[in-house]
């Protein structure tokens, strides 16, 4: 471990963007924050499990990613201090502070004000996380990392500071102060030491005892079964949303298991991803019986996946 000296610049001005998988914009920002500080992204990737949750108000199901330990603790163990800020009415001051301390920040914004998100711009208020990794005070420009809907990869984008404030203030108005989402709106990350031991990348395994999470994994089966029983002839729209989100989670899992070298788990996930595509195909054809048939097979595979996940990644005590 090497302590960081005062004034030492560690964050890379232009870093390799982590675009291998896209879990969601929050995770994407966090993984790239790690990249900006040259910390192995595996500290996050091997520290979460995916759970399926229902969203009764929308009648949909979505994956959630629970880190097996507190995210702040995981980051701290790897030399990064996270400061959570509920909100600020002076974003510029906070960002200037970031710049002085060589920090980066994850900021919540409203896509309604973001011109390159064409689907939402001036049409629909939608929450998003962007990573701010650099600022040019003189030019009044901040550099962020974001991904357009139709782009496969995230890109470095230069934004006029006033623009970013507009996006942030719109988020505050339409989500935070209207109590739709009262989570913190600004996260500031500072590297306090550099972990040179590279423990993580050489381990290539999950960093927690998976057997402790048997209940959560088996609850996933119950949730999927509930999803199955609730399929109605007219539920194609909500089902499409749920399956699309589960597909993203499976893509992330496929990536993780490939990296760890657990081929049985990876093979099951590949089959499940194909099944989701087949289900989406039958949703378009409005053939709900076929969708149910596929979902039944999908759940069987999920059980098989849980078995292999615990068997091959669980630690023997």
């Amino acid at each position: 471990m090497r302590m960081i000296k005062k004034g030492e610049k560690l964050m890379k001005a232009h870093f390799q963007i982590f675009n291998d998988i896209y879990i969601n914009c929050k995770y994407h920002a966090i993984l790239n924050m790690l990249n900006a500080f040259n910390v192995d992204v595996n500290v996050i990737l091997y520290n979460y499990i995916t759970i399926y949750k229902s969203s009764p108000q929308y009648n949909t199901y979505k994956p959630e990613y629970i880190t097996t330990r507190n995210l702040q603790d995981i980051l701290f163990e790897n030399g990064i201090l996270e400061e959570k800020i509920d909100y600020t009415l002076n974003l510029f001051e906070k960002i200037k502070e970031c710049n002085r301390n060589d920090c980066c920040a994850i900021i919540r914004v409203d896509m309604y004000e973001i011109p390159y998100h064409k689907e939402y711009f001036k049409k629909k208020h939608y929450r998003r996380y962007v990573l701010l990794y650099d600022i040019d005070i003189e030019k009044g420009i901040v550099k962020i990392l974001d991904r357009e809907k139709n782009n496969i990869d995230s890109e470095f984008i230069s934004v006029d500071f006033k623009q970013l404030s507009k996006w942030y203030n719109s988020y505050l108005k339409n989500f935070y102060f209207s109590k739709i989402d009262t989570d913190c709106t600004l996260y500031i990350f500072k590297q306090i030491y550099k972990n040179n031991s590279q423990v993580i990348s050489n381990n290539n395994e999950f960093l927690f005892d998976i057997t402790c999470y048997k209940t959560e994994l088996y609850n996933n089966i119950k949730t999927l079964q509930e999803m199955y029983t609730k399929i109605k002839p007219d539920s194609y729209k909500t089902l499409k949303i749920s399956l699309s989100k589960i597909l993203l989670a499976k893509q992330a899992d496929k990536y993780r298991f490939n990296k760890i070298g657990k081929s049985q788990c990876e093979e099951i996930i590949k089959q499940q991803m194909n099944m989701i595509t087949v289900m989406l195909y039958y949703i378009e054809k409005n053939d709900m019986d076929k969708v149910k048939e596929q979902l039944k097979n999908f759940i069987e595979l999920e059980e098989k996946f849980n078995f292999y996940f615990i068997k091959t990644c669980g630690r023997v005590k």
Binding site: N150, T277, Y281
Partner: protein
């Protein structure tokens, strides 16, 4: 029989806005999944081809490797047209 033109037409009509390059620039062996095709919008391509050629794909056909390139799609159509 060669269905390359049909495939390109469907790509243009159904996914023109979502692809990262213009369809006429796509070579038959280019990986479409690197050009903006994904597990979600591939459905539009599958259904578009079914409608255009009046064929029906089987569940096992909806495997991403069959839709990876125009060449692979062409081979799949040839099999289904027999």
């Amino acid at each position: 029989m060669n269905y390359l033109e049909t495939i390109k037409n469907v790509l243009e009509n159904k996914l023109g806005d979502e692809l990262l390059v213009s369809v006429d620039k796509i070579e038959k062996n280019d990986n479409l999944f690197n050009l903006g095709l994904d597990s979600l919008n591939v459905i539009k391509l599958i259904i578009g081809i079914e409608e255009e050629l009046n064929i029906k794909f089987q569940d096992k056909d909806i495997d991403s490797k069959n839709w990876k390139s125009i060449e692979n799609i062409n081979k799949l159509i040839e099999e289904r047209k027999v």
